[in-house]
Symmetry: C2
Subunit: 343 residues, 2 copies
């Protein structure tokens, strides 16, 4: 499933290019990155946030065009798909990846079938439909959508954000941006929400390429955060069997059977990182804390900050915000309720 690519980082040249992920063109596995499928993938901000126990840096990937970090993967994957001359793809997603792939498929002129769980957020489903993708709503848990997609994939190109290597080669640009924004230094720790692990594995790929190119001396610790209610990665990492998965407000990481579980565990251990869980209450508290400080994100994006708030974080740690609050605006407002944070 993986592709080999020797990345290079000509820093002076990179600095002169526009502030988008395409500035790392020597690290993208594309024949013609200058013709990439683009909706405007800004270099997302790295913004400090004071927590009671120290300052962290929020990497604001919710500001990408479709409102989630998935756009990194979609932009590179659809570019590769167009280079290969493929004109029809399918994907399964809990929402954000589907919305993102639908947007980039529309931009690329590629037909897309998106299999999504019936219970995905209305905002995400509206995005998929608006972009003209064929939205297939699959009843039952997230895994049903995956199974339906896999069956259909026997005849159509499977542009999966979990399995397609080009997707991860887009997500890896997140690592490049973080390191460049820290003046080409590595952070000591990066904290991310983890479901199927696309974010974690893409980040690791990016840091590993930076390491192989001699830009950074080693990998930063990668910390994967799961909702306690649905934490198969956490339990596997601890070497225990997972209890049956329950419901969580963090729908983007409500993955009972992550397809790349073993790789996620390896990457966490390789980097000296860890897997942690947060309760529903801790996620809601973090959501409120973030909004009370100006950051409007979807519940899934509050999981990583929740871990920092509940368990502390080393100062200077990077926390990735993955999805915009407008993806699930009503749910966010309802969760936060009338308990306003008084400044």
């Amino acid at each position: 499933l993986d592709i080999s690519w020797r990345s290079e980082f000509p820093r002076a040249e990179i600095a002169r290019r526009p502030a988008t992920l395409w500035r790392y063109r020597e690290a993208l596995p594309l024949e013609r990155p200058e013709e990439g499928v683009s909706l405007g993938e800004v270099m997302t901000p790295l913004v400090p946030l004071e927590l009671p126990r120290g300052r962290v840096l929020l990497k604001c990937d919710q500001q990408l065009p479709s409102g989630s970090y998935k756009d990194r993967g979609s932009a590179v994957m659809l570019s590769a798909i167009r280079e290969m001359g493929i004109d029809h793809i399918l994907e399964d997603s809990s929402g954000n990846a589907g919305a993102s792939i639908a947007a980039y498929a529309a931009r690329a002129g590629v037909r897309a079938d998106i299999f999504a769980p019936e219970a995905a957020s209305p905002g995400k489903l509206a995005q998929i439909a608006a972009h003209g993708a064929n939205l297939v709503r699959v009843p039952g848990p997230r895994s049903n959508a995956a199974a339906a997609a896999l069956e259909a994939a026997s005849t159509t190109y499977y542009a999966s954000h979990c399995w397609n290597p080009f997707f991860l080669h887009g997500v890896k640009t997140l690592a490049f941006e973080i390191v460049e924004q820290l003046d080409w230094q590595m952070p000591r720790e990066v904290i991310v929400p983890a479901g199927n692990g696309a974010l974690l594995l893409g980040l690791w790929l990016g840091f590993d390429e930076l390491r192989l190119a001699g830009v950074i001396p080693r990998w930063p610790r990668l910390v994967a955060v799961q909702a306690a209610a649905c934490a198969p990665v956490y339990h596997a990492w601890r070497g225990e069997s997972a209890p049956e998965a329950g419901a969580t407000i963090a729908e983007g990481i409500a993955i009972a059977n992550p397809v790349r579980l073993r790789e996620i565990r390896s990457v966490v251990n390789l980097t000296g990182g860890r897997v942690v869980t947060v309760s529903e209450e801790e996620i809601v508290f973090a959501l409120r804390y973030l909004a009370g400080n100006g950051f409007f994100v979807e519940p899934t994006s509050a999981a990583a900050p929740a871990a920092c708030l509940a368990q502390g974080a080393e100062a200077g740690s990077v926390v990735v915000l993955t999805g915009h609050g407008l993806k699930a605006a009503a749910q966010v407002a309802q969760s936060i309720g009338s308990n306003r944070i008084e400044q």
Copy 2:
């Protein structure tokens, strides 16, 4: 109401700074721009879009933190407010400005009362509430919210996106970015939706400062687009009396009595621009065209592209996208309906 400021544009230095609006610090009327109130105001992308009658450049301001161009104004205005030591503000808004000011007030630690029409989009109202602002929902048309705010402003600082000069001095950075992104050349025409005119007047201010500093030789033509159903600026510009305002899907520009009508008209004429109207059908067609090409914006943002689609646009014209589609996701999906664009 206006403030005097002599802006400078040290291009080589600007090019070395991070790609945010703060890179134009010599042009911001702040004592300490390096301590500005920031949520990560990326330099928004300028992305080409092919239209049947030529290629335009979309300036994607919906990618700012709260999902609308208003963040430019809010970031600079709240920075000024914090420098002045003010800790309680009020604002009236049809939604986007309120959501933006609520976010930046939260970041700045300033209390905010937001007066919004009861009928504003749920997404926007959710944002305002989530950020802990005091949301005052005013029944009736947009003008009722303005009247209620003005009354309250006798005791609280009026941080109006229409009246506060610091807000316009934030919006003007849109002009700086456009010109820098075109290698410090001016576009010939910039096309924007117009309601109260904050975008148009902010843009003009920016282009005028660039002109005074010798960066560009003159102003580009500014084209203001209104919904035909509510077009007081259009009728005033034509020197005719306006019929009673009706309903429009473009809620962000549904302003029956623009407070700065005379200035809007002057600016349009000064730049050799024009005011045009688009029908509801044309707005929905443009919304569908944009989504079918990967761009998910709210209906108000489709008004300017609608004018280009219906009436043609000079190649290379810049069209400003003002608000994210997730602000009104259900409404967008519903408007576009099942008439998918086949690529």
